[in-house]
Amino acid sequence: MIEKEKMMKTSTNRRNESAQKLLLRLELWFAPLLLVVPLIVSLVFLGDWYVKGFIGRSASYDGELFLGLLLLIGNLLFDIPFLRSLRMQKKKQ
């Protein structure tokens, strides 16, 4: 009876562990996308402002400058703790 319970416990633990590993893998798969895409988009906004707004001397593109900076700073602020948490989690695993 006790052996059976022990076996059940170990199998449940194994299942939980594999679920955790699977989730971590998913998070790692998503990480580059979550980190890189906003940076690229913000650089596109800044580039468009630079070419058409700054060099082309048009104030109509100032909004893109603001948005580019907002995206860049906002994402960097949250990316750093996210990367830290990923490193911590990898260490735990």
Binding site: V44, L71, R84
Partner: protein, 237 residues
């Protein structure tokens, strides 16, 4: 008789004890996942701000068609996945970062997607942009500051941050319009975030409430013969 009663009682007690242990174990496991997923969820929010790339897409016939069809297809796929998950066709554990209360109702990413879709298709970009920015940044900022500063201060910070987003998006409008829009929009964001509804996630409310308020204001002013919308903030490539 006495012995059999004792045994039954013992067994019941033992079973209860095991059930409690099992429940605690499961809760610990879930909490571990919740803690690990904390920053993942935050970054997912801020990532959503890059959807604003949508307004940079060139104004051509086939691209304009794609601008309507593609977001609808993406949100429809998300809805199918969520339907399957809630029905039990997909394992809940395969979805990273879901909260406990999202087990039996659509997850917040679907609400977020629906909100963005409605804003893209039905609202002018002058209204949609600050609302998407608020959902992307104000929500995680309030969430984070709530941990360290408490609820009231977190909402105050959220209000100021939202105010800044509306200010940046409407900076070309007249001062009285700017003031009105900033106050109305930021209040809508705050109510959308603070008011928790059972079946509607705050990720949808935080976008839709200020958007609807601003739409009403805009249409009201148009009815009075004044167009308050500033020039577009993002011009297509």
């Amino acid at each position: 008789m006495f012995f059999s009663e004792m045994t039954a009682r013992d067994t019941l007690k033992r079973t209860k004890q095991k059930m409690t242990e099992y429940q605690i174990g499961i809760l610990e496991q879930l909490n571990a996942i919740e803690v690990d997923a904390h920053w993942f969820r935050r970054v997912f929010h801020t990532f959503a701000a890059s959807f604003l790339f949508y307004y940079l897409l060139p104004d051509e016939k086939w691209i304009n068609l794609g601008k309507i069809v593609l977001p609808i297809i993406i949100v429809a796929c998300m809805a199918v996945v969520e339907y399957q998950r809630i029905r039990g066709g997909l394992d809940h554990h395969r979805f990273f970062g879901l909260r406990n209360y999202e087990k039996k109702r659509p997850a917040s990413y679907l609400y977020f997607g629906i909100g963005v879709l409605v804003l893209f298709l039905l609202f002018p970009q002058q209204i949609a942009i600050p609302c998407i920015l608020c959902a992307s940044f104000t929500d995680p900022i309030i969430g984070e500051s709530r941990y360290y500063l408490g609820k009231k201060r977190a909402y105050l910070i959220g209000f100021v941050v939202s105010l800044c987003f509306f200010l940046v998006s409407w900076y070309r409008a007249d001062w009285w319009i700017l003031l009105l829009v900033c106050l109305l929009g930021a209040t809508g964001v705050l109510i959308g975030e603070a008011k928790k509804l059972r079946f509607v996630d705050d990720d949808l409310m935080i976008q839709m409430l200020p958007a609807i308020l601003l739409l009403l204001l805009w249409q009201g002013c148009v009815a009075l013969g004044v167009n308050i919308l500033p020039p577009k903030m993002i011009l297509p490539l």
